[in-house]
Symmetry: C2
Subunit: 344 residues, 2 copies
DNA sequence: TTGAAAGCGCTACCAA
DNA sequence: TTGGTAGCGCTTTCAA
């Protein structure tokens, strides 16, 4: 059995309470005694038993809240799974976690959930955020109050949030560009499609892509088109482009709409000749990979995005340990027909 | 605060001890009383507090051992990190974990470590195994003794091990083939290189690759060559092949030796024209990706391979929960220049 | 500044 | 078949 605070107390000729105060710098202990205790602890390699700590902590009741927007999407459902995992793990440490799911993106609803979770007693919040002024202001307020906020999946970069856990969209765009270059060593014509022009993540996915292909002289880029996440728009854009440019060899789409793209390619009988690179490994995309309609899908590690923010808040609130970095980027996963099973 | 066994005891008009026995089917409880208790627990949604459980368990002292072979390799070092993570997590549940690292592959050393860990009191073992008869026999013995073994990274399929956590090598080979097809839509000549012919994992990586390219009429496969994990052999094989077959467009190597391959391609001034697909994202391979010598690296989630076996043993020994499947395959990660940073 | 003791929730043991 | 109780290691009162 490892060394306990009791043993240290006996060796130092003091009580456990004194040992506790000395080792955790809680004050109310004479410097000499504290020094003696710390020396003994050091020599014995004392490490507080985390179970004992958890037991006490459960009594104090640290509570954390998580707020998910767009909870209806497959990706956010995966994020939710990660959050529930974290909740389960933290339960072992005496922490309660409450998860709130919001349909769609709605700053007003987020603000309401923040209030509810605060009333419930949350000491920290993980939020799939927006960068909207109202939300940024609220996060800053929370920061003032000493309630740390970690954003995930979507960031609020203008706010005083503790950190962000999510995809590096620019880098993901570069990764997509790398794949396109591998597929088109002799060059070719490429059509980039974005979702909303003002969606920060989609825009970065586009920028990274364009920047990485800039110096690839043999690859020609058509002007990018917004499809507003809609399959019908994407279909029309793709069909029109195919008719205007029969030599098109690749479509890159940063958002939803990939089904419209694939359908247009089939309609024009160009399947297999025109490659498609899309985002997020959900059920529809799995099927499109299997059928060969999509060549590659870039995926984010959704599980981590739900899990890590809560873990980070816990460590921050308990030990004051801040996250290693402000921007914690999750891995960029490349999916093909062969590695998109769900065995992971 | 959540429901406690005490509360249930009061409602049922019995003692906590009785509640405990009833809810965990430990016997020595009359059927009627047990039923009443279970009903109340059900209604109140009782879930035993895992911290309390951990506190008691720490006293009983469940111990788990992990044995790593080839610990000197970068991949196994990552596996070791995962094992240490699990050790840390399990400490919260009152479990002690001891990790033993072995240089190279050596069944005799593994057998010795098994004995040492048993003497130390291990109730379950995670082993980066071989399928050698001696080791298989020992694992079967352990099974008889009630000491479960989970293999990881490398399996002992002939033994009565509880499960295996590692890469699906055949599938990884298929994945590599898929990448090659994307890179060579118009076909081309491909050279497969394996490590040792009798290494099960390397052989499966080869088979999956060959099988997936069988019906790709436009891609031509040269007979595969063994390089015995050596850069010099791989260099010679590649150089020779390049001279004999100037049209070579791709090399697939299932083992170490990738540096030799890349060097040969540079020596023959074919860099950029001949693509290389290799395995395992370690430091040298990261560099080769950055420099464009390698097009793709297939990576296994080494962290999981160290972590999950221990978690599985814990759940198995504690609750009798067996793993979901016997073969727990880790994700197959595709790495390129752009997504091989170490931010994950 | 220090000590003593309570108590977190659970399981194991002993006694009835 | 049951109940009672000790005790895991820690933190946090409350007293001294």
């Amino acid at each position: 059995m490892a060394v306990t605070s009791q043993q240290i107390a006996e060796l130092a000729g003091v009580s456990r309470g004194t040992v506790d105060r000395a080792l955790h710098n809680r004050g109310r202990v004479s410097p000499e005694v504290a020094a003696r205790i710390q020396k003994i602890a050091e020599e014995l390699g004392y490490r507080p038993n985390s179970i004992g700590q958890a037991l006490v902590r459960a009594r104090q009741g640290l509570r954390l809240g998580a707020i998910l927007q767009s909870a209806e999407t497959p990706t956010m459902q995966d994020v939710a799974v990660g959050a529930r995992q974290a909740a389960e793990e933290l339960r072992l440490s005496g922490v309660e976690v409450e998860i709130r799911e919001i349909q769609g993106r709605d700053t007003a609803k987020v603000l309401r959930q923040i209030n509810e979770l605060l009333d419930w007693g949350a000491g920290g919040l993980a939020i799939a955020s927006n960068n909207t002024p109202d939300l940024v202001r609220r996060i800053d307020q929370l920061y003032q109050q000493g309630v740390p906020v970690a954003t995930f999946n979507t960031d609020a970069p203008d706010s005083k949030r503790l950190c962000f856990v999510g995809m590096d969209s620019y880098r993901a765009g570069q990764t997509a560009a790398g794949l396109v270059r591998q597929m088109l060593p002799n060059g070719g014509l490429v059509l980039p499609i974005a979702g909303h022009v003002n969606n920060g993540a989609h825009y970065s996915r586009l920028r990274g892509f364009l920047d990485a292909l800039k110096d690839a002289g043999d690859i020609q880029l058509l002007p990018f088109q917004p499809c507003f996440d809609r399959d019908d728009y994407a279909h029309e854009i793709t069909q029109h482009t195919l008719r205007e440019n029969p030599s098109l060899s690749c479509v890159y789409i940063t958002s939803n709409g990939q089904r419209g793209v694939c359908r247009a390619i089939e309609d024009e009988r160009r399947k297999g000749r025109v490659r498609v690179v899309a985002y997020d490994l959900n059920e529809p995309n799995r099927k499109l990979l299997q059928s060969g309609d999509l060549s590659f899908v870039l995926d984010q590690v959704a599980l981590d995005q739900g899990r890590r923010p809560l873990q980070i808040l816990y460590h921050y609130l308990l030990n004051g340990t801040p996250p290693e970095k402000e921007l914690l980027y999750t891995d960029i996963l490349i999916r093909t027909k062969y590695n998109s099973g769900d065995e992971a």
